[in-house]
């Protein structure tokens, strides 16, 4: 079993300019993930599938995660000079985490019996036209799942062969799995 760090090195050997980051996982499951840059995601995905030492031929699970902007309060130590005496004080600083939508893929290798390798793609923001490259041309198992992410989270998958709503009806407007979704009065939304 290769660790995500080894897989990252293998990707970097093939694509020296690739941006790959290992995202640690705090749970005992120890399934760290690789964060890929959206612009290179398709060719790296193809490499992960076709490379003879990796052969992730099976994309099991594809899903979205919504990360709205969050205010994090942190204590920061600062040195202050009061009346000529230097004092160390703690200050509460508010920091805002960037908002983005994320697509998460769980890859397995049926040929080599390995996995899961978790890869993540992040949009630049949570706007209405947030877009990511579709991985359906690499793994067809993503076809319905990416449609579902588009439907429920509102990520546009560029290069998807048939990007339509899948669970909600066609003229539904919002994306229900977003964290800030407010359900409308049922009488108003029934088709």
């Amino acid at each position: 079993m290769q660790t995500p760090e080894q897989i990252k090195d293998r990707i970097l050997a093939a694509f020296p300019d690739a941006q790959v980051e290992v995202i640690p996982n705090g749970s005992p499951a120890s399934q760290p993930s690789l964060l890929l840059a959206p612009t290179q995601a398709r060719q790296i995905a193809k490499f992960l599938r076709d490379d003879p030492a990796l052969r992730f031929d099976y994309a099991s699970n594809a899903t979205g995660v919504d990360w709205p902007e969050k205010t994090v309060k942190e204590k920061v130590k600062r040195k202050k000079v009061v009346d000529g005496v230097e004092n160390e004080t703690e200050e509460l600083v508010e920091r805002k985490t960037p908002a983005f939508l994320e697509a998460v893929y769980h890859l397995y290798s049926m040929a080599l019996g390995r996995g899961p390798l978790v890869i993540r793609l992040r949009t630049a923001n949570r706007a209405d036209n947030a877009a990511l490259p579709s991985l359906t041309p690499i793994w067809r198992s993503c076809e319905f799942q990416e449609r579902e992410i588009f439907d429920l989270f509102g990520i546009f998958f560029q290069g998807h062969p048939d990007l339509r709503r899948i669970l909600m009806w066609d003229n539904f407007v919002d994306h229900p799995m977003r964290k800030d979704y407010v359900p409308a009065d049922a009488a108003e939304v029934l088709p």
């Binding site: 996982n25 749970s27 005992p28 499951a29 899961p116 669970l167 799995m177």
Partner: protein, 382 residues
């Protein structure tokens, strides 16, 4: 009667002009096994395009779970694949156990294997019954399958209090211990199931109508099956040796001797035979598990059920459910409800290749190809 855009009518072979016909099959068609619709474009009786339409049973199970505690989602998982509530429970608690690092006592692991394999038995039996019903064997095979299913549901009822919505497994174990005499009853049911299978196979396997309708129909090549994420008996019918019980060896599956049946052609007949052969293997597992089950606790004493707050992190857990790979992906932010709760539904993903399997076949074959995939709409639409 007008072809939708993008579809070319085939060149007429005779002087009679013919148009394509678009038929909405479902959501109330009896062969769709629930509220599922296929928009089929037909040239005569031959399928030239098929578009599945989902969502009639959508209630956003995932959103509900993200507003509830971890424990409160277990009964909701019963209603995903409402035939197999036990395996749904297992996939979910397995993922939470991965997220929290909980261990499961030996006896509970055995009980889980026993109830999961019993679930596989009646799921496959019912699937075979429904498939035969779709081919025109009205009632008889299905009633035989349902008779056996009833015996297993009686076992579940005496164990959990409910026949179908069992709500039985808990993080770190199971909800209640086996009742007195349950193992003996289960052994009787398992022994009876073996002779039921002999009977069922003698009746059906060589049946001329079954063979004529299913052999060479709906062929799924192995490469496409892997790429499209098909799992479960449908994948193995195409000859790909991938059974999560063997690959991941979750629970205690490494202790049992059983084989993974593989098909050769990947057609409807192979998918039917996969179910029959897998039932035989499940009976082997059940025989060993019912014999070996130890006494002991049924839940980890450290397991915290109410107000569970896992450390921030994520986990993906999966099992070989009767329909394929059932996975749960959970992200915890340290709160009492999962930050993200995702079900990887085998029924939905196995439908990805429905069109590929149906193209060029008659509309009557669509019914049996769909029947051989084995879907439950509670899981497809979630």
């Amino acid at each position: 009667m007008i072809a939708p855009p993008g579809i070319q009518a085939p060149a007429a072979v005779d002087s009679i002009s013919h148009d394509l016909l678009e038929v909405a099959m479902g959501p109330h068609h009896p062969s769709t096994h629930g509220v599922f619709r296929m928009n089929v474009v037909l040239d005569g009786e031959t399928v030239v395009k098929l578009t599945p339409v989902f969502g009639y049973l959508h209630r956003n199970h995932e959103k509900i779970a993200e507003k509830n505690s971890y424990l409160a989602s277990i009964p909701y998982t019963d209603r995903l694949d409402y035939i197999c509530s036990m395996t749904n429970n297992w996939a979910y608690v397995l993922s939470v156990e991965k997220l929290t690092g909980l261990a499961v006592p030996e006896r509970a692991e055995y009980i889980r294997v026993i109830v999961a394999e019993l679930t596989r038995l009646f799921n496959h039996a019912c699937l075979a019954g429904f498939l035969l019903q779709d081919m025109g064997a009205l009632g008889t095979p299905m009633m035989y399958a349902f008779r056996e299913r009833e015996k297993i549901l009686d076992l579940f009822e005496s164990l959990t209090g409910s026949r179908m919505m069992c709500n039985y497994m808990r993080f770190g174990g199971c909800r209640c211990d086996l009742t007195a005499g349950w193992l003996e009853q289960a052994a009787t049911v398992v022994a009876g199931f073996d002779s039921f299978l002999d009977h069922f196979e003698a009746l059906l396997n060589g049946n001329e109508i079954l063979c004529a309708r299913s052999q060479g129909v709906g062929v799924l090549p192995a490469g496409l099956a892997v790429n499209a994420g098909v799992t479960g008996p449908g994948l193995r019918a195409s000859g790909v040796n991938y059974d999560i019980r063997k690959v991941d060896q979750y629970g205690i599956y490494n202790r049992f001797k059983f084989r993974v049946p593989l098909g050769r052609c990947g057609d409807v007949f192979d998918r039917y035979m996969m179910r029959i052969l897998e039932m035989r293997e499940s009976l082997k597992i059940l025989g060993q598990a019912l014999h070996d089950i130890p006494a002991g606790a049924i839940i980890d004493p450290k397991a915290k059920l109410r107000n569970l707050r896992p450390k921030p992190g994520e986990a993906y857990g999966r099992i070989e459910s009767p329909k394929g790979e059932l996975g749960f992906y959970l992200i915890s932010d340290g709160g009492s409800a999962p930050y993200r709760y995702r079900v990887r539904p085998p029924s939905l993903i196995n439908l990805t290749v429905l069109e590929d399997m149906c193209l060029g076949h008659a509309i009557a074959d669509v019914v049996i190809i769909l029947g051989s995939i084995d879907i439950v709409l509670g899981e497809v639409d979630r």
